[in-house]
């Protein structure tokens, strides 16, 4: 099987007008996420490689950021005052490329070159080749320090531009993240938001079996962050939280987005085998059927359906660093 331009069928969705209602925004993000998943599924299936499990756990976060949160457009990718998004879990490059294409940063046809010889679309993103990519990531534990550096530059500039970084949960086992979190707190970088794709699975096992991160909210709060937990597949929750930062003046924000790898595909979701497995023809067809069965813009079907016992303690955002405080207030 070979990936060709016939497999790049995704519509370019772009952004809604700024005065759109929340319901319209959420429906738009939901539809973008659905289309991005369909396109990403085709990329991985026809290219014969990729990280579809992690792609699908992160796509709702990416669609929310690019669809309604980040102050960045295809025309402003070099504007010094743009918001920055850094994908630290660089192995989900396929999800990032597809998201960039969905919002007009990258020609959709270019997706057909994914992983091909001499393509700009490497297995990990390259800012020198792809407009909209902020940092060359792939080795884990690199994005958060870079995000801290950017947030520091914004603070020195007395700029309101924001910095978002998406890290994997397994990735937090790298010590460099915690070095960076200490610095973020020391420098009071409250326009920095760390989003954790908390799918609880790493390459070969659960995070709990490997090097347990819990109690993650307490750890992040102890490192000086305002901590918020959300359902990482609920576009409304993601939109509300990611557009409301900072939650505490002087504190960076740590959003724990509870997700499932492979979500929402029945046979992939929360299944460790799908870290970088490639769907065969039958699996591809079934996954495609499941994604196409969802009505365009319908978010509930994409909601997290199989929450593991005890994972979601708070379906609504909360601020862990200051009990009883109201979200979104200074």
């Amino acid at each position: 099987m070979t990936l060709t331009v016939e497999h790049t069928t995704m519509p370019v969705l772009g952004r809604l007008p700024i005065h759109s209602s929340r319901a319209e925004q959420v429906a738009h993000i939901a539809e973008a996420a659905r289309q991005i998943r369909i396109q990403d599924l085709k990329l991985v299936h026809y290219a014969g490689a990729g990280h579809i499990g992690g792609d699908f756990s992160a796509i709702d976060i990416l669609a929310t950021l690019y669809g309604a949160v980040l102050d960045i457009t295809p025309d402003s990718v070099t504007d010094p005052e743009r918001d920055r998004f850094i994908l630290s879990k660089g192995h989900v490059a396929g999800a990032l490329y597809t998201t960039l294409a969905a919002f007009g940063f990258l020609p959709v046809d270019d997706l057909a070159t994914f992983l091909k010889p001499l393509s700009a679309l490497n297995g990990h993103p390259n800012r020198r080749k792809v407009a909209g990519v902020e940092a060359n990531t792939g080795p884990l534990g690199h994005g958060l320090p870079v995000a801290v550096g950017h947030a520091l530059s914004a603070k020195l500039d007395v700029s309101l531009r924001r910095t978002y970084v998406l890290v994997g949960d397994g990735e937090l086992q790298e010590g460099s993240n915690w070095e960076a979190m200490m610095a973020a707190s020391q420098y009071q970088l409250d326009r920095l938001t760390v989003i954790v794709d908390r799918n609880r699975l790493q390459q070969g096992a659960t995070t709990k079996e490997t090097n347990d991160l819990d109690p993650l909210p307490d750890k992040a709060a102890a490192f000086g962050f305002a901590v918020v937990e959300v359902n990482g597949h609920d576009h409304g929750e993601l939109l509300d939280v990611l557009s409301a930062v900072p939650f505490r003046p002087g504190k960076p924000t740590f959003v724990i987005a509870h997700t499932h790898k492979g979500h929402p595909i029945s046979f992939m979701s929360n299944n460790v085998a799908w870290h970088h497995r490639v769907p065969d023809v039958a699996e591809f067809q079934q996954a495609l059927t499941e994604l196409e069965a969802v009505a365009p813009g319908y978010t509930k079907e994409l909601g997290m359906t199989e929450r593991s016992e005890g994972i979601i303690k708070h379906s609504l955002p909360r601020v862990s660093s200051a009990p009883g405080a109201k979200r979104g207030r200074g």
Binding site: A135, N136, H142, P145, V146, H150, S153
Partner: protein, 321 residues
Amino acid sequence: MSIVETSIADRPRYDCRDAYVETLAELAEADHRIVGVVNDSVGSSKLNSFRKAFPDRLINVGIAEQDMVGVASGLANGGRIPFVSAASCFLTGRALEQIKADVAYSNTNVKLCGMSPGVAYGELGPTHHSIEDIAWLRAISNLTVIVPADPIETAAALRWAAASDGPVFIRVSRMSVPKVYDEDYAFRLGRAITVRAGDDVTLISNGTVLWRAIAAAEQLATEGISARVLSMPTVKPLDTSAVVAAARETAGIVTAEEAVSGGGLGGAVAETVVQQHPARVTILGIPEFAPTGSAGYLLDHFGLSPDGIAAAARRLVTRGT
């Protein structure tokens, strides 16, 4: 002529960090984008005066080298020109992957300043020696590697780095050295400087060892051996034409550097000679974890003294006849 001129060994000595901090302050004064980034290395980098002059522009991330280099990359993304200033052993060893991915591969405008490199920390031992830095960093694409020899070249290289766009590594010595250059010296990337003409044998050096190579040439001159001394501040990109000319025009090349004797300046010269004009090459460096001793003692111990360099040159010339 060495009888009437003062030998280089007898000239006053300078700590290159003084030129470093003075130049950095001057650059920062002229360009608001310039910031310092340190791993608590304010004192060891002599940056106290910089911190006083630009309190907001000295970012201290604490003892956290990986974060330090990642932060510098992010600062560059935001339009700043960060000068990372940290002991070379920790900067290059601890943050090597950040240097590769966040700086070189990401092509961010970060200037990495490896302080107190080589065996400068003397008796503190091999954990604190940074003899591998040149070899490690020379292997990374899109990264310029500069090893200045004196305070004048240190200042000139810094000015060049601030004005150039892209990743640069500069070694800043703490071991005091005599001035090799005149005050009007202008750094030119990738260009060797013939600090002493000669046609019997060539000595190629940089950093703290360059003056020792010049002193060796003075010694050889008294014996009637005419040694060319090439200063090679840019290890990468290397001035290959100067190396090839030396291979062609003299009996052989001795390289001498305060670094591991494989993969650094000597390695770069040998790669060029082997592929472009095979000739005799002797590489002087530090071949192993150093024993206990002061920096000066260790350089002498490994043959990086004027006597040691002269002896290696003599052997090349003798074998050539």
